[in-house]
């Protein structure tokens, strides 16, 4: 599955006020809720926070990939955020995070999920890509970069 099938421009926001890990998960829930019929903001928040309780999704280098499974979700939804200031996230390398790729997925679809994680990891593992994401100053520029467009296509 292509990233552009998961991520839409209205779920991509730059320079978000992160404030705290909890606050950030609430922001994500608020963005995702209208995208999934029959699922509330509260359901999404619970799913994300329960996953964090099993271990932080801060995977290092300032990047976090909060995610959750939702029984009633009809399709996967992604959210991409950059933060105005890095926040503490209990990440594996103890570094604060400022790039967030959140993913809410239906219960099944294990193989698709692994492919999606690999596609995200490929971008986040590339310093030119993460530098460009951090520097993106509009929501649309951030979106275009992540789906593999923009000048020089650093995330392609």
């Amino acid at each position: 599955m292509q990233i552009s099938e998961l991520l839409s421009p209205d779920c991509t926001k730059c320079a978000v006020e992160g404030a705290s890990k909890k606050r950030l998960l609430e922001t994500i829930s608020q963005i995702v809720a209208p995208k999934l019929s029959g699922i509330t903001r509260h359901d999404i928040f619970e799913s994300l926070i329960n996953r964090e309780r099993l271990g932080s999704t801060g995977i290092g280098l300032g990047i976090a990939i909060p995610h959750g499974r939702l029984a009633k979700a009809s399709h996967p939804v992604a959210v991409l955020l950059t933060l105005d200031e890095p926040i503490e996230f209990d990440a594996i390398d103890n570094q604060p995070v400022d790039i967030i790729f959140a993913l809410l997925v239906p219960e099944s679809e294990h193989e698709n999920h692994l492919q999606t994680l690999a596609a995200v990891a490929r971008r986040m593992n590339d310093k030119d890509c993460t530098r460009a994401l951090r520097n993106a100053d509009t929501d649309n520029a951030l979106y275009q970069l992540f789906i593999g467009e923009g000048e020089d296509k650093p995330c392609n």
Partner: protein, 91 residues
């Protein structure tokens, strides 16, 4: 310096997803040895969650795990146990 390698099979249902990859990276970081995971042509540093996720290893996949360093043998035993234990997952 000792180098030890072993072929291991991903046994948990969800494969090498984020949480499993994080457990493997944390275990790797607790040893002095460099640990790599090779799947087909791709060979990655096991200390990096990001790199491990690049593999998109599903249940049933075989990977070659190598440890190189003074505690390579112990590291390989510990990593083997984590795989056998399905990354501490139920299925």
């Amino acid at each position: 310096m000792t180098k030890a390698c072993k072929t291991l099979v991903i046994q948990n249902k969800l494969g090498l997803h984020a949480r499993a990859a994080t457990k493997l990276a944390q275990l790797t970081q607790s040893f002095k040895s460099e640990i790599t995971v090779q799947q087909g042509e791709q060979c990655v540093n096991a200390a990096s969650v990001m790199c491990l996720m690049l593999l998109a290893s599903q249940q049933g996949k075989s990977v070659e795990v190598c440890a190189e360093g003074d505690d390579a043998e112990d590291a390989l035993v510990a990593v083997s146990e984590l795989f056998e234990d399905r990354f501490e997952e139920n299925e």
